[in-house]
Amino acid sequence: MLDKSIKILVVDDFPTMRRIIRNLLKELEFVNVDEAEDGAMGLEKLKAGQYGFVVSDWNMPNMDGLAMLQAIRADPAMAKMPVLMVTAEAKKENIIAAAQAGANGYVVKPFTAVTLEEKITKIFEKIAKEGA
């Protein structure tokens, strides 16, 4: 059974989108949600806190989502952190680049609540399977 108290970080430069994702997570009963407005701030928070899951945009100032993902994968302390990309980037080359960098899922904006739930469930199911 999925632990709903897991600490989640939502990284997006648009406050509206952060609120939407936070509300959707709340609807899915994930209540322990924190926010960051770009990759640099996201990485800082991730290094400081006990997060279990990251939902990140791609195109952001300072440090974009892909660079943040690469930094997460390069850091032994959090290399296994599940990361879901939620982005407007719909070019095939971008999707492939994110997958190669180690993204656990890729959702294209605009997305539906059902899609987000599906991807999150799938990611945690896979982790549970691998851990078993």
Binding site: I20, V107, P110
Partner: protein
């Protein structure tokens, strides 16, 4: 070449407006002068880029119009769907409350009281379902706000394009201003921002057109692409 004031129609001091023919001649002359200057200054490529940016800008503005309209419709539809549910809840509660008031004022008929209790029970049972239907509409209103992120990204790009066009045109004007006595060396035209972006891993923002071969159109295509690559 006779120097003319390109802006004023009254360069000669006369306040009389030009005749139509004179005006056309003047515009023709200015256009020719502009073209020559553009060629002399090596700005032809920049101008071509600006011209290319215009249809793209049209697509972007169309995308913004479409997304905002869709968001407004989604929100209004959700309100239309939620209001009758709320009205019905309130109306039923009011009706039951009145019946209870009447019974408490005159608590005699047992049959009526029994019916009231049963109706009340049925109402209480139906409330969570109705509330969750309203909640679904509230979620829909929230999801409709996702346009702000998408149009915001497109608007940022548009602002960049407008800034580029503005800079280029201003440069053209400065380099070509007849009032400047000394003809200075034209400054190199600033490149459009798109040229300076690093190659590879380029970010494109939301797709403003559908049906492109190098981009996906929906989440299913994302999933298929990733699955085909073994992710």
């Amino acid at each position: 070449m006779v120097q003319q004031n390109p802006l004023g129609a009254s360069a000669s001091g006369s306040l009389l407006p030009d005749s139509a023919e004179q005006l056309l001649q003047r515009i023709g002359h200015l256009t020719r002068q502009m073209r020559e200057s553009i060629r002399e200054l090596g700005l032809e490529t920049s101008v071509a880029k600006v011209a290319e940016a215009i249809p793209d800008a049209r697509d972007r503005l169309g995308y913004i119009a479409q997304m905002t309209e869709r968001a407004a419709e989604r929100a209004l539809n959700a309100v239309d769907a939620a209001q009758p549910i709320q009205d019905a809840l309130a109306k039923e509660a009011k009706g039951l409350s009145q019946r209870w008031d009447a019974w408490f004022a005159n608590p005699v008929e047992l049959d009526e009281a029994r019916q009231l209790v049963m109706d009340n029970r049925a109402y209480l049972k139906s409330v969570p379902q109705q509330v969750s239907a309203t909640n679904a509409q509230l979620m829909e209103i929230m999801m409709a706000q996702d346009f702000q992120d998408l149009t915001g990204q497109v608007i940022k790009k548009m602002v960049q394009v407008i800034q580029d066009v503005d800079t280029q045109l201003l440069q053209l004007l400065l380099d070509n201003a007849p009032s400047l006595e000394k003809k200075h060396e034209p400054a190199p035209a600033p490149a459009l921002a798109a040229d300076t972006a690093p190659a590879g891993n380029q970010l494109h923002g939301p797709e403003v057109k559908t049906g492109l071969v190098d981009a996906v159109n929906d989440q299913d295509q994302v999933d298929d692409l990733l699955a085909s690559l073994g992710f």
